[in-house]
């Protein structure tokens, strides 16, 4: 169990050569081995979605995936969302529409929404609410999150 495996994680366009136990979760590898602490752990049993990252473009609970399962697939985390100083439309709209309070669930929501909007830029409001119900937020009551994602979607379609 404690024998470590050498792997290379490709995260936000960078390579991280790390040695991990096979049981190490992707979330722990990102946070502890790659130093990317923007991915948060809220439940470690796959319900809250705070640890959502994109693996091969698809939203994944990083607490439920082992780091060794990722292989060559590109991982994207919240740290890779902005382009330099320019915020991603989702980040911008979350800021402008008070889509966050404590901010702990925010990286998970941003990555969940980024995955959904990239997969379907014309996603309907009902589908969007359904997708966003994948993650938990305890501060906002969701309405500003939904509003921010809708506005970002419109901005990204332009």
């Amino acid at each position: 169990m404690t024998d470590k495996v050498n792997i290379t994680l490709r995260v936000n366009g960078k390579s991280y050569a790390i040695a991990v136990e096979p049981r190490r979760s992707l979330a722990d590898a990102l946070r502890e081995d790659c130093g990317l602490t923007g991915t948060h752990l809220g439940c470690e049993h796959g319900v809250c979605g705070a640890c959502t990252v994109l693996v091969g473009g698809k939203p994944v609970r990083a607490c439920l995936m082992f780091a060794v399962q990722v292989g060559e697939t590109e991982v994207r985390t919240v740290e890779g969302l902005a382009k330099g100083e320019v915020l991603h439309p989702l980040q911008k709209q979350f800021w402008e529409n008070h889509g966050l309070q404590c901010g702990f669930c925010t990286p998970g929501f941003l990555m969940l929404a980024a995955g959904a909007l990239e997969a379907d830029p014309d996603i309907s409001d009902d589908e969007l609410r359904e997708v966003l119900s994948s993650n938990l937020c305890r501060c906002t009551g969701y309405q500003n999150i939904i509003k921010a994602v809708k506005l970002a979607a419109a901005e990204m379609r332009k």
Binding site: D28, H40, H98, T106, E130, Y142
Partner: protein, 761 residues
């Protein structure tokens, strides 16, 4: 430049959006050890042995402690509402002699790595002689720890409050209405679990605990006392905090243990709670049963009210002492006159996770009880539910209104209130009559749609004082230092807006330091909707003092005798009738001493916000699921510093209230095993279980008790949700009095419907 009243973007957000937050788990120190807590697997029993040998032999394990290793650390004391007789019921940092709930810390493992710590913790064996569990707070009390504390019963205290002549009220009553209601066990559940990292610097001798929240100064002093540390030998530091809601940041066993371990093991010690632990170990709340009895006249006016209630406080009395029961008892009468009142609030212990405050503590429960009573009175007397409320409301000309009882050691004096006015305006805003007509129309076609209205009184701005320091930095920016804590609610932005209004600068020029005990000697923290009222007022006073000092400094630089000809506008000082200006940066650079000021704000009384909740629900008669179609919160804020942030507070709180009304509950089996230990069983609202929360925010009645006129925004979105939804479901099913308990998940509602009516006639 005006900053107050504007919905400015928050100062807090950028690092959080970029993934650059610094939450407790994000801290990391060289040589740090991981602490893992071994928790009791049973609800009640005598500890025979805690076997740690196998755990100690595991790779990476540095130490394993049980109660014997921390026998010198005293029980965790009360921060609030200390009532005589509560002392024996305080919790030790590790269980001694008895375990009293599943999840109670019995041992701790220290290892190099979190995986090693968890592996080793699994091997600690708890040899416990199980006793008979006690899970019903309304049942006669039993012995708390029979063998070691014989005769000490599981009712630590009864809180009694009374005013008026209750006997006379019942003697005069035309009707006596009785009602028993219950609110289930649920709690705050912030998305970030608790965590702490303690580091002892051998060079300075200072122990620093990161991961502080809510009340860093109190906890610094309390941990210092418990570990025998000199003043100055311990500091607490707050990073980002992933939600508080009352439960996070109280002093828990784990906070004390990481500090003790960092001192004794000579290495940094980090503890991050997992979610299962959180649901077992962090404060639970609510869980009250109220037995009400009202003396009523023919108009529905309540002549007298009597309440006997029971709070299931769980296994121990934690830092809040009697707070939850005290608040429930004090605010049960709400916005109504009720000339005579007597309440006995029984604080009862059971073998469940200990309780504390959760956003709107005691008021969510007592508002449900009182408002369900108002609906019951209306039904019994054949009156309109809103009309019954109207005849009972305290009129505006009776303000300020002295309740002649106390809450949290302060006299309950409603500072100001236009209750009737807010009720009228809210009902007009929602189109109440039309809403009811539409619901009736849909019901006539077979749908189950109903409207519920509930009123409430909140309290905010708990004193007794707060201190803020303001300083002009050399780069011309302003630094505000406060002992307040940020739990995600937007403290920095609110304080900066208040300061910016006075100093006529952009909020981006202001940095707000909070939650750092090393930066300011006084801090009361973030609870009881006190921050904007108390810290905000102190920030305004400090900013005004700084404003005057800046002008004096500018006058000196401009060789003027006095500052009267100077004004501070748009970030620069101007000399009247001239083109002479000085930038704040120039003033700071050219003035040899640091320009700084402080502001104290004192308050002996809380202020009392109030509001009206209106719910429209649809009940599915096949699944018995309740869908909220519309939810409106009418709320008197006094003055909104940032309306969008107020709305955020109200909406978030309301959704937590929906959780408590429809979804969330800590259920136990007959042996005291908790059945809700994951998010698969403890159900919180998602975006699918909520609707848009409409805010009807009023600034019609500023509080006369603080210079800003503000009232707290933190809790009023939650207070009446259970009551309003309960009334709406009754209406939807045309079954008055149906909802007498919360939460009403589908199976519960199904059962209620099939038992209805419970008291025929």
């Amino acid at each position: 430049m005006s900053a107050i009243g504007k919905s400015l973007k928050r100062l807090e957000d950028k690092p959080l959006l970029l993934g650059q937050g610094r939450f407790a788990a994000d801290y990391r120190f060289d040589r740090q050890l991981i602490m893992r807590v071994v928790r009791s697997p049973v609800a009640f029993g005598r500890i025979l042995a805690i076997e740690t040998e196998d755990a100690r032999a595991m790779p990476g394990v540095v130490a394993v402690w049980t109660a014997a290793d921390v026998a010198d650390i005293p029980l965790i004391d009360f921060r609030m509402t200390r009532i005589k007789g509560l002392e024996p019921y305080r919790q030790p940092v590790l269980a001694r002699e008895y375990v009293r709930y599943v999840g109670e810390p019995v041992a701790i493992v220290f290892a190099e790595d979190v995986y090693q710590a968890e592996d080793a913790a699994d091997l600690v064996f708890c040899d416990i002689d199980e006793g008979v569990v006690h899970l019903d707070a309304t049942a006669p009390p039993v012995e708390f720890m029979p063998e070691t504390l014989p005769g000490v019963l599981s009712e630590p205290a009864v809180i009694t409050k009374a005013y008026g002549d209750l006997d006379q009220a019942f003697a005069k009553a035309r009707h006596v209405v009785e009602l028993e209601v219950a609110v289930g066990r649920h709690t705050g559940v912030p998305m970030e679990t608790r965590g702490a990292l303690a580091v002892h610097d051998p060079n300075t001798g200072v122990l620093t605990m990161y991961g502080a929240a809510k009340v860093p100064h109190y906890n610094r002093d309390a941990i210092g006392r418990m570990l025998g540390l000199d003043k100055g030998a311990i500091e607490l530091s707050e990073g980002h905090v992933g939600g508080g809601f009352g439960i996070r940041g109280e002093l828990y066993p784990e906070d004390v243990l990481v500090c003790a371990a960092a001192l004794r093991l000579g290495r940094p010690v980090k503890w991050i709670e997992d979610r299962r632990e959180h649901l077992l170990a962090a404060n639970h709340s609510r869980d009250q049963v109220h037995r009400l009895r009202a003396a009523v006249d023919d108009k529905g006016f309540i002549l007298g009210l009597e309440d006997e209630f029971f709070t299931d406080q769980g296994a121990y009395v934690r830092t809040h002492g009697g707070t939850v029961s005290d608040l429930a008892a004090a605010l049960l009468p709400g916005p109504y006159l009720i000339p005579a009142y007597r309440v006995n609030g029984h604080i009862r212990l059971t073998n469940k996770t200990p309780s504390g405050t959760y956003r709107a503590p005691g008021r969510y429960e007592s508002t449900f009880a009182r408002e369900r009573l108002m609906d019951t009175i209306a039904h019994r007397l054949g009156l309109d539910a809103v009309e019954v409320r109207r005849v009972n409301l305290i009129p505006e000309d009776r303000m300020p209104y002295d309740r002649k009882i106390d809450a949290l050691g302060t006299e309950v004096v409603y500072d100001a209130g236009k209750y009737q006015d807010l009720l009228d305006k809210t009902l007009a805003h929602v189109g109440y009559d039309q809403l009811r007509a539409e619901a009736a129309e849909r019901r006539s076609k077979g749908e189950h749609v109903g409207i519920g209205v509930a009123l409430f009184i909140e309290k905010s701005g708990l004193g007794p004082r707060d201190l803020v320091r303001a300083r002009l930095l050399k780069d011309g920016s302003i630094e505000i230092i406060t002992g307040v804590a940020s739990i995600g609610q937007g403290v920095e932005t609110i304080v900066a807006q208040i300061c910016a209004e006075v100093l006529s600068v952009e909020i981006e020029q202001i940095s707000v330091v909070h939650g750092q005990t090393s930066r300011i000697e006084v801090g009361l923290g973030a609870f009881a909707s006190r921050v904007t009222v108390m810290t905000g007022s102190a920030a305004q006073i400090a900013s005004r003092a700084l404003h005057d000092k800046i002008l004096v400094a500018a006058a000196t630089l401009l060789r003027k005798e006095n500052a009267e000809d100077l004004t501070l506008l748009d970030g620069m000082v101007r000399l009247r009738d001239s083109n002479t200006t000085l930038q704040l940066r120039e003033i700071a650079e050219q003035t040899p001493e640091i320009i700084e000021a402080e502001g104290w704000f004192h308050a002996d009384h809380m202020n009392y916000p109030y509001g009206v909740h209106v719910a429209k629900v649809h009940v599915d008669s096949e699944t018995w699921g309740v869908k909220i179609e519309r939810y409106v919160v009418g709320y008197e804020i006094g003055r909104a510093i940032n309306p969008v942030l107020v709305h955020g507070q109200i909406a978030g709180a309301a959704v937590q209230g929906i959780g408590g009304a429809l979804l969330e509950e800590f259920v136990y089996d007959e042996s005291g095993q908790p059945l809700a230990t994951s998010f698969a069983d403890y159900l919180m609202p998602t975006s699918n279980e909520t609707c848009r929360i409409e805010m009807f925010l009023r600034e019609d009645c500023p509080s006369p008790q603080n210079p800003l006129g503000v009232r707290g925004a933190g809790e009023g979105g939650l207070t009446a949700v259970g009551a309003a939804i309960g009334a709406a479901v009754d209406d939807a099913l045309q079954s008055p009095g149906l909802v007498d308990c919360l939460p009403i998940g589908p199976s519960k509602l199904h059962a209620l419907v099939h038992q209805y009516p419970r008291n025929p006639g």
